[in-house]
Symmetry: C2
Subunit: 264 residues, 2 copies
């Protein structure tokens, strides 16, 4: 059998597992050009590496093996073109998706890191860069449960606002005064999406941290006000509460870490 390759040889040449080659043969996707009539050994030709490489490209793109098998059985230039056309579109979508995932993970990591470095006991004054956001509609807080309804409404806006809820989220208070009056009830929710249509402006911010569930800022509100008074600072513009460590990082809601910042 000098001019043919055994399963192992062909496996090495093509980079495909021998067990996969047997499976592909079994389902009729890709078979060796000959079988030894005596011992049933599979023998491939070197040229088959071209066809099998094309199959691996498609299968690595999650094209169902049945679809590829159909293609292999008809084998006309037109049908190949058609599949490639479709796949180029799918690939384009997939690459956009991966880009979005990258952006989601990156944004999350940045915020988690910020939370790990934060000292919840301190108020600080720092320059913050611009940050893009997608901001939801005005919240309406009913009696009773403080978060359920407005948060639900925010989530339901996701589609409409082309908002991806995998990004970190936060609450926006229209002014420092409104925060002081109702620290647990943000006027809007937002998601920290770097492709957002709204932005938190760059500038000097008064920053505080607090541990606890979304609604518990009572102590921090006072501390921020005192700090601002002592340093003769006038908060202006909206106040942002970004949930750095929540559900994802910590099982215990009382340990959630929130960063609160307002421009001064």
């Amino acid at each position: 059998m000098k001019d043919f390759l055994s399963v192992k040889e062909f496996s090495k040449l093509s980079g495909i597992e021998a067990t996969t080659l047997r499976y592909w043969d079994e389902i009729g996707l890709f078979s060796p050009i000959r079988r030894d009539p005596g011992n049933n050994y599979r023998y491939y030709s070197p040229e088959q590496v071209i066809a099998v490489n094309f199959i691996t490209v498609l299968s690595s793109l999650n094209v169902p093996l049945k679809t590829i098998a159909n293609l292999e059985h008809t084998r006309t230039p037109a049908s190949i073109m058609e599949l490639i056309d479709r796949q180029e579109y799918v690939l384009d979508m997939e690459m956009r998706r991966l880009h979005e995932c990258y952006s989601i993970l990156h944004t999350r990591r940045e915020l988690i890191k910020r939370g790990m470095q934060a000292d919840p006991s301190k108020i600080e004054l720092r320059q913050m860069p611009e940050r893009r956001l997608v901001v939801g509609a005005d919240n309406v807080f009913p009696e009773g449960d403080p978060f359920y309804e407005p948060f639900m409404r925010f989530c339901n806006q996701a589609d409409e606002l082309r908002m991806n809820l995998s990004y970190p989220i936060g609450g926006l208070h229209k002014s420092f005064e409104r925060f002081l009056a109702n620290p647990g009830q943000p006027d809007k929710f937002f998601s920290v999406d770097p492709a957002g249509n709204a932005k938190k402006e760059a500038g000097t911010y008064l920053i505080g941290y607090v541990r606890g569930y979304y609604g518990q800022f009572d102590d921090l509100a006072q501390r921020l006000r005192d700090y601002a008074a002592q340093h003769a600072l006038t908060p202006h513009g909206p106040l942002y509460a970004i949930y750095l460590h929540e559900e994802i990082c910590l099982a215990d809601p009382s340990q959630y870490l929130v960063q609160v910042c307002v421009a001064v």
Copy 2:
């Protein structure tokens, strides 16, 4: 159960199939915050949409559910960061891979289309743009089988030359004269990789097509020579035989379509 969401409601909010939510509950990856003690109904809280969205991002990146489950059970900022670090690397690799697949499909489609438009009976003169290639080592043709050994050697160089054999391939003859003398035995093989380190120069090329297996150019060689003589053209530089429709497009090797071109 006003403040809780049923499986269907949570499914709609999160975009995750109800059956998937049940499966994730079953394997201990993600469970509703409460169960009705009477009928065992699952009830989710709206806040859980944050955690589940993070899970879907990871699972859509093919992180094993067990890995995600471990993460969910420890839930520390440091362990999340570690996973995100790894995933950013994996994502980077994956995006490069998809880019390569896109390039492979695109290059193949271009050549297949060219083949569909070609008229094998005609010789033509055309301007061709530069094309990148990865060229293998010099072929050595032994007696007997004309293709097996050199083609095998070419395939085995793939790793070393960082050559991806999923791109279309072809044969290179160092000169028109060498092609005339031995049309079936190219001096080198090459792969049509747009990121290749070698190139086929842009310029005016004498182009012919032929149907048949890699080695059968006898008629075409003469026709090209006659055409060149009649039009007072002097072929120079290497001759390229690009296999437009082979194994992938056509089951019958006698119908393979090869484009032969040489600069004039």
